[in-house]
């Protein structure tokens, strides 16, 4: 058997078996949903506006930018090299294997 056939066969078998496992358990059980716990506040207070999401994304991106600037783009070649060395090594190993090593 070749590799793509093996991968496709086993993936298809996995999905088939997953459905066979899931259907009986999903059918027999009833779901009772409980409210979100908001320190005693009613669930109606649970709102999420688009502006808040935008601010959250900005906050995460700011932290990412700060990390990149302080640790990778510090102007020192050594910092950049230390950051990219593991990726370069992985690339070298993958290339070696791809070329039949």
């Amino acid at each position: 058997m070749d590799l793509p056939t093996l991968m496709l066969t086993l993936t298809a078998t996995s999905f088939l078996l997953a459905v066979a496992l899931w259907l009986p358990t999903a059918r027999t059980s009833r779901i009772r949903r409980t409210e979100v716990y908001l320190s005693g506040e009613p669930q109606a207070h649970f709102k999420l506006s688009l502006v808040e999401v935008a601010w959250a994304i900005r906050y995460v991106m700011q932290r990412l930018y700060k990390t990149l600037v302080e640790q990778v783009q510090s102007g020192l070649f050594n910092d950049w090299f230390a950051f990219s060395l593991p990726y370069l090594l992985l690339l070298a190993v993958l290339l070696y294997m791809a070329l039949g090593g």
Binding site: M1, D2, L3, T5, L6, M7, T9, L10, T11, T13, S14, F15, L16, L17, A18, V19, L21, W22, T25, A26, T28, S29, R30, I31, R32, R33, T34, E35, V36, Y37, Q43, P86, L89, V93, Y96, G101
Partner: protein, 327 residues
């Protein structure tokens, strides 16, 4: 006719032996053994009531959970989707077991180790999603912690597995071949020594990463009971909890079976009953060693876990992988 035999053989090996049924029984027996051993270390009795010496306790727990009529969950949790992902994780692990040369029918291809790594990733992603899919903070913390550990232990497991298979089946990089007919380099002492060193280093890296993957001490922060109330399991109940316990046990069983038989490649894994018994003896020996080492340590913080795994698991697995090219 040949196609029919192939389909029946594949289905039997994935669903029964050495797939789902075998792994579930082995995983739950290992859970009993682990709990009994840890209880012994901590001066407790451990599982006791169901079956002789409490051996059927994990089976009773999972059976009870799987057939509970009502699932209680948060209002925004997509519990049926999470159950499907968990079932998919279990199924992918069972399919990966079809690569083990233990049954009468098994699959084999050059480079099949990559298929094994790919299939077992479904299980890790399912566990991470169980945590991240809940709106409660505890499972989210658990999921986030597991995901950050995953970034270190998955490459470590993959690299050490490739290193082990590269040493034992250098031509084909096939897991099935490494397990069934390992190349031992007995005629070349120097390369043989390098091979033994690679196996030892990869085994240490793999075991450490496996402790993190199975959320055993000291890397049990994703499910720390006292901090995050059970982490990714906190909001699960009924069949969803039963399936996630099964996923955890089945995953650990498969990884340990592969580790035990790659690290001690003699006698090789085959379908004959005595060899299967020897494989299981190796399995329980490795499990004992891991549990004794794991439970003699306390829980570490996320940053400590990442540092330890990065230093002793990721680096060692990279060293093993590079050194495996020398054999």
């Amino acid at each position: 006719m040949e196609l029919l035999v192939d389909i029946v053989g594949l289905l039997l090996s994935v669903a029964i032996y050495p797939g789902l049924l075998f792994l579930v029984v082995l995983g739950l027996l290992s859970q009993w053994y682990r709990r009994k051993l840890v209880a012994r270390l901590q001066n407790r009795v451990g599982p006791k009531y169901v079956g002789p010496f409490g051996v059927l306790q994990p089976f009773a727990d999972v059976y009870k959970l799987l057939f509970v009529k009502e699932v209680v969950t948060g209002v925004f949790t997509p519990v049926r989707l999470l159950m499907f992902l968990t079932a998919l994780g279990i199924a992918a692990i069972s399919s990966a077991a079809a690569l083990l040369p233990m049954g009468l029918y098994y699959l084999k291809a050059p480079l099949d180790i990559f298929v094994f790594i790919y299939l077992t990733l479904y299980a890790s992603i399912a566990i991470a999603m169980l945590g991240l899919g809940s709106t409660s903070p505890y499972p989210s913390f658990g999921g986030a912690r597991y995901t950050s550990l995953m970034l270190v232990f998955e490459p470590a497991i993959a690299m050490s597995l490739i290193a082990l298979v590269r040493v034992l089946a250098p031509g084909s990089l096939s897991l099935a071949e490494a397990l069934s007919s390992p190349k031992l380099l007995l005629n070349d002492p120097l390369r043989g020594l390098v091979a033994v060193a690679v196996i030892a280093v990869a085994a240490v890296a793999y075991s450490l990463a496996l402790l993190a993957k199975a959320m055993m001490k000291p890397f049990d922060i994703p499910e720390a009971e006292t901090e995050v109330a059970g982490g990714y399991l906190a909001e699960l109940s009924g069949p969803a909890l039963g399936l996630s316990i099964l996923l955890h046990e089945v995953e650990l069983a498969l990884y340990l079976l592969v580790l035990a038989n790659l690290v001690v490649p003699v006698p090789p894994l085959a379908s004959e009953a005595p060899l299967v018994v020897v494989a299981l003896i190796k399995y329980f020996a490795v499990l004992t060693l891991l549990v004794v080492v794991a439970y003699s340590m306390g829980r570490v913080r996320v940053d400590q876990a990442l540092k330890t795994l990065g230093r002793y698991s990721l680096t060692l697995s990279a060293v093993a992988l590079i050194a495996s090219f020398l054999t």
